[in-house]
Symmetry: C2
Subunit: 359 residues, 2 copies
Amino acid sequence: MSFYQSPKKMSAFDAKFEAQKIAFAPVSFQVARCLSQFGILTKIDGAGDEGISLIQLIQHVELSEYAIHVLLDMGLSMGIFWCKDDRYRLDKTGYFLLHDDMASKNLNFIHYVCYQGLFDLDDSLKQGKAIGLKHFGDWDTIYPGLSQLPEQTKKSWFEFDHYYSDHAFDSLLPLIFKSDPAHIIDVGGNTGKWAFACTRYNKNVNVTIMDLPGQLAVAMKNAQACLVADRVHPFETDLLDNNKPFYQGGDLYWMSQFLDCFSKQQIITILQRTVAAMKPDSELCILETYWDRQPHEAGAYCVNATSLYFTAIANGNSRMYHSKDMLKMINEAGLYVDEDIDNIGLGHTLLRCKLKPMN
Amino acid sequence: MSFYQSPKKMSAFDAKFEAQKIAFAPVSFQVARCLSQFGILTKIDGAGDEGISLIQLIQHVELSEYAIHVLLDMGLSMGIFWCKDDRYRLDKTGYFLLHDDMASKNLNFIHYVCYQGLFDLDDSLKQGKAIGLKHFGDWDTIYPGLSQLPEQTKKSWFEFDHYYSDHAFDSLLPLIFKSDPAHIIDVGGNTGKWAFACTRYNKNVNVTIMDLPGQLAVAMKNAQACLVADRVHPFETDLLDNNKPFYQGGDLYWMSQFLDCFSKQQIITILQRTVAAMKPDSELCILETYWDRQPHEAGAYCVNATSLYFTAIANGNSRMYHSKDMLKMINEAGLYVDEDIDNIGLGHTLLRCKLKPMN
């Protein structure tokens, strides 16, 4: 990581502008969303180098002249368009807002899942609880409520979640099956996407999904549909409750985008319980995004921003960690890192952990 | 205006990052707010070149280690701090977030007045109504509800409103009294700030404030306190209602940050009624911020962003205009611009209008 260690090369003038951009950030966010939702980005993109005038846009977009104009002007200020001789043309930032599916997944996730709850970020930080979750229900964390969220919220949540994991699967599967595990324990396996990827990739492997009952019901329904219900097994538990069972003696324990859902203290406990469940030759594979392992500042920005979703909406006490913090917890729980592979998918890191030798 | 007429000089890589920044903008906004609210910016600023560590911050800020750390990491990504040898130092953007009162006024205005309502920007645009206002009450526009807004909302609204006008007053007063008006009509005079500035500046002038009853009650209470109740007069009306009276025969009609509260059609009507009320030698002085008259892009950004407050929160159909639109409406109403002065205060423009000669 080469960034954040020296002041930005930026004039005082530009920094002052940057401060105003932050102050008006909710405006720029909603304007970008509306420009996309009402098809204005698409229309301007379609006009190409020739551009399109306000009068032409009015004929094709079902909004008043006032509404289109106010969006266009803010879009100019945001660098989404440029405009010469009264004709609007898409600029590079607008191009990526329209065509980069990462931007649109992020934007929908922030709008439908996070926007309202982020208003209560201050209270969430003070109380160490996801106060913003109250906009959806009165659960303590989002996890038991996940299957009951409003349709659009649920859709945006899963699209965001899967977008990042899906990009990692292809390069991960050969790495995971290198040690030829007969039985994989998918800890916090959610809808079973990973379990099905494994059973597709290897015709003999069995996968046990450990999760809350709500998630398991969905996963097992999916297992039926994928015709792998004979090799995908549910294991009902609450990983935060030490009195609930933990699957013993799996060959490979798998935790993907999972530990970021817990506080440091909870992670150590979960890792210790995993250690207690592992056979001497079992592996624990941890897939996470660490902000310090991102090759570019843009990735670190997205990872750090995602942390605040955990603070205000998900559970109030977890986050995307710095890899150093995770390595410390892994060591403390009685494991060592046998392999440490960065740049999987969109900035994921795979840590292959084994039991430390007994003294 | 030299900006917006050509594509930004920006790599595809940076534009893609820019798109992610927009997608996570509500996060960066709330993080900046919390860093300021919890005194973290101040603490890091105070540490100067030496910087301050996370452990030291924990001793001085009443938040958990988790809460402080998650804010610091996102602050790094936003360029608010930089961090070397585990010590955080304020970067230029952080400096302006902390010390530039324009940034803090804008930020509070967006949080307390606009944030929640901006969630409904799409509906506001579709319906041409300020749907976001429902978070505060069931008024059609914010104006009749202004005096009943929650305390913190009202405070942020007035601080934002006055911040921009206050910076313009000093250079405006000599311009306005150049023509030695005996009676100024302050159209939409709100709490009376301009009226009191005039009576302070000139010991003989009389000022009549035309506004809604709620605003006038506050203004006249202030007039008593300023000991100018003998020269400041209330004139109760609703400027959107053509059946309500309009003050006739004033020497100088004054509209400051006023016409941006109305749609184009409403502005033309108000200007026509002013024309009908003017004596042959009366003046109409219009003070506004036009986004195309800002000397720098940062100003245009703020002005264009402010327009969306009108869309989603204030009335659903008004905005900060392009000067060309305003000049067209002024002409259409029967006036000509006798003097056109830019760069007053923080990017205001004064248009001194007179009646066009009769045919």
